[in-house]
Amino acid sequence: MDFTDSFDEAEYRAKCRRFLDATLPRRHPGHVRGYRRGEDGPDVVPQAKAFQRKKFDAGFAGITWPKEWHGQAGTPVQQMIYDQEEAKYDTTVNAIGLQLNICMPTICRWGTQEQRDRFAPPALRGEEVWCQFYSEPSGGSDLGSLRTRATRDGDEWVINGQKIWTSLAHEADWGVLIARSDFDKPKHEGLTFFYLSTKTPGVEIRQIKQMSGASHFNEVFFKDARIPDSQRLGPVDGGWKVAMSLLMGERYSLDDDFGPSFKELFSLTRQLELNGRPAFEDGGVQDRLADFYVKAQGLRFTRYRIMTSLARGEAPGPEASIGKLVAATMIQDAASYGLELLGAAGAEMGADMPLEGIFEESFLDSPAFRIAGGTDEILRNTIGERVLGLPPDLRADKGMPFKAIPVGSK
């Protein structure tokens, strides 16, 4: 039991560091990843594209993808090591990475070699950005209840409907889409999967403003948008399986420091005074800090357990599923507690507030973490059923034709 690299791992890590040192500035000590200020600027995506190109040139694009996908045919450990190292740098520039890692494997897995050759290289080089047309206003957590309609018309499909929560859509060149091709079948059985250009006539993209003021998501409207049948992936009415393979492609997040947590609170309580003494010395503060610390360390070492499984070529254990659920609440709680410690003065926002105002900003950002990427409630269902093996809930819509199921707000 140790934390050291094998020889090969150490060599690969050194290679990553050489590349990153030459390419990115190191994070300054107070910088917290995932802290959104400044990540909305107009330069973010161009910078991300340029960085992706450098990764490609240095052999760090598509590390684990096979050669047929134009990847590096590397191991999950290499990916993990790269991610670990990258986390030490200012990676605001990596804004397009997640979508790349979700969309492109779906294209490559379900598409022809010709499609792989057409799409993988420009995506890996950062020349083309992808997004996923997936969630819908009526769906939310119940993804399978989507109602965007795909109607066959000869060699084409006509798309009508609305998508939402589409990250990057306003910057993307291409998107993957799941739509309902048959309203008479049960809800997971009448769906078909496509990809299309965001420039397709009839596709309109509008940014959504979040409560924090940032705009990371879009609404997308389809009005008689036409897609050739050659841009279908998987069989007609067989799109659910394609979509699920896409979700499975989500990598384990090995990233910590995603918002304020123990470190920031520890730092705050050393600056702040309570009754003339450093806040840190207060028993109540210590009780709370200890809880944050133990939870944060629990998540950190859970990640190390996952990495160890990957390093051994094994699938990570079920513990891999708890990270996002625990972290999201922890961040919101930490933001809230930071404000409590700041007291009346803590209402003010701005970079001149303690710790550059991270607690106030995170107060407004953090509600999204408990929802985006699976709500707390859905994640608990998933862990309860897949990890603990508890029986599923009753399904009100089981076997019903989709059109008979009540959806959305009706």
């Binding site: 969630s135 206003p137 769906g139 939310g140 957590s141 119940d142 209840s145 939402i164 929560w165 959504i208 403003k209 979040q210 409560m211 924090s212 702040l272 005074e273 309570l274 009754n275 003339g276 806040a279 109540g284 809230s336 404000l339 409590e340 410690l341 700041l342 007291g343 009346a344 003065a345 803590g346 209402a347 003010e348 926002m349 701005g350 507030m353 303690p354 106030e360 107060f363 407004l364 509600p367 999204a368 408990r370 929802i371 985006a372 709500t375 707390d376 409630e377 608990r380 269902n381 809930d393 399904r395 009100a396 819509d397 019903m400 199921i405 009540p406 959806v407 959305g408 707000s409 009706k410």
Partner: protein, 378 residues
């Protein structure tokens, strides 16, 4: 046993609710959120005309003389609609300071204008991050002039005058009244977690000021804050209740997996926990209202309990309202964040719950040592 508001105040509540729901929908607060002028001036004039700013002001000074129970009732309604008006600053803070500690002359000068809303008053007391500690205030009152800087002064952008908390020497007055229109006052409007209300950093550079002569030492400031906390707790309760109702209504009408999301225990039980937090807060608030109105020695304890409970209810209710709404919950266009922001602003405004927990225990300890603890809060 008659632990409820008298019928006339219940009628006042019904009237206020009917008026405010119509007159002050969330869209009104959203407007304040998105523009520089944070006050709905028409609404402010209207509630002034109805006497809602003067409920606790005696008739001699142009008020309705209904007492504090009426203010508590109105505060809850103001909270329910997250009204974009300087109600808390002007009523719970400035008016209350004058009622408690003002000279006859000061009362005659300020209260009638506060009563109509013609003047907006506020309380300036925050100087640095951390718990409020009057003993460490740097702001000085010397030879009739005030010097110092106060942070996040509520409605500091629009207030006409401020009650300013100053460092007090023993039994010297710890509160002064200052005209904010004076040339030696500089205001910097500052953004906060709730931009639907205006806040400013205010610097006083030798500004002429008048002491409230009966506001002796740090205790005077604490008593004022205790009283303001009770009325604020009702306002917080209003925000929490409104957020709960919004979440409940959505959970009843939103379908997922073929059924209303409120039929899932994950949502249902969550909202029950919110409901419990609001009811525990309500009961503590009623107690505090009784203590405020009856000038009970339990006020310090009851004020702290009502504030702690309402802070908890506000946070739980507004946070889980967003969560219940899912993705839409964290968009700008949905109103959830208006409640989330306001609840936090209120929870910070008079010092955070953490600080009030320490005050509560201090007050309990003091009471324990005193001769005759009453029966109600044992």
């Amino acid at each position: 046993m008659n632990f409820d508001f008298p019928d006339e105040f219940k009628q006042l509540r019904d009237t206020a609710r009917e008026f405010l729901v119509e007159r002050c929908p969330p869209a009104a607060t959203r407007k304040a959120l998105e523009r520089a002028d944070k006050v709905d001036r028409v609404l402010w004039r209207e509630i002034g005309e109805m006497g809602w700013l003067s409920a606790a002001i005696p008739e001699a000074y142009g008020g309705l003389g209904l007492g504090h129970l009426a203010v508590c009732v109105l505060a809850e309604e103001m909270g329910r609609v997250i009204a974009p008006v300087p109600y808390a600053s002007s009523v719970y803070m400035a008016t209350e300071a004058l009622l408690l500690y003002g000279t006859e002359e000061q009362k005659k000068s300020y209260l009638p204008r506060l009563a109509t809303g013609q003047a907006v008053g506020t309380l300036a007391f925050v100087e640095k991050a951390g718990p409020l500690n009057p003993a460490s205030f740097d702001t000085r009152f010397l030879d009739g002039r005030l010097t110092g800087t106060k942070l996040v002064v509520p409605d500091g952008d629009v207030a006409d005058f401020a009650i300013v908390a100053v460092r007090s020497l023993e039994e010297a007055p710890s509160l002064c009244i200052v005209d904010l229109g004076d040339a030696a006052v500089s205001k910097m409007v500052r953004p906060t977690v709730d931009p639907s209300r205006g806040h400013a950093t205010i610097r006083f550079e030798g500004v002429p000021a008048e002491p409230l002569p009966q506001a002796n030492g740090a205790t005077a400031f604490q008593s004022l804050i205790d009283r303001a906390a009770v009325m604020m707790a009702f306002e917080q309760l209003g925000v929490a209740t409104a957020a709960l109702e919004m979440a409940r209504d959505y959970a009843k009408s939103r379908y997922a997996f073929g059924r209303p999301i409120g039929s899932f225990q994950a949502i249902k039980h969550k909202l029950v926990e919110v409901y419990i937090a609001t009811e525990l807060a309500r009961s503590n608030c009623y107690w505090a209202a009784w203590a405020l109105e009856s000038e009970s020695s339990e006020l310090a304890v009851a004020a702290a309990a009502s504030r702690i409970a309402s802070c908890d209810a506000g946070w739980t209710a507004t946070r889980e309202n967003i969560q219940t709404h899912g993705g839409m919950g964290f968009t700008w266009e949905m109103d959830c964040h208006l409640y989330y922001r306001r609840a936090r602003l209120q929870a910070l405004a008079l010092g955070s719950a953490r600080e009030w927990k320490r005050k509560l225990l201090g007050a309990l300890w003091a009471r324990e040592s005193a001769a005759t603890p009453t029966d109600y809060a044992a």
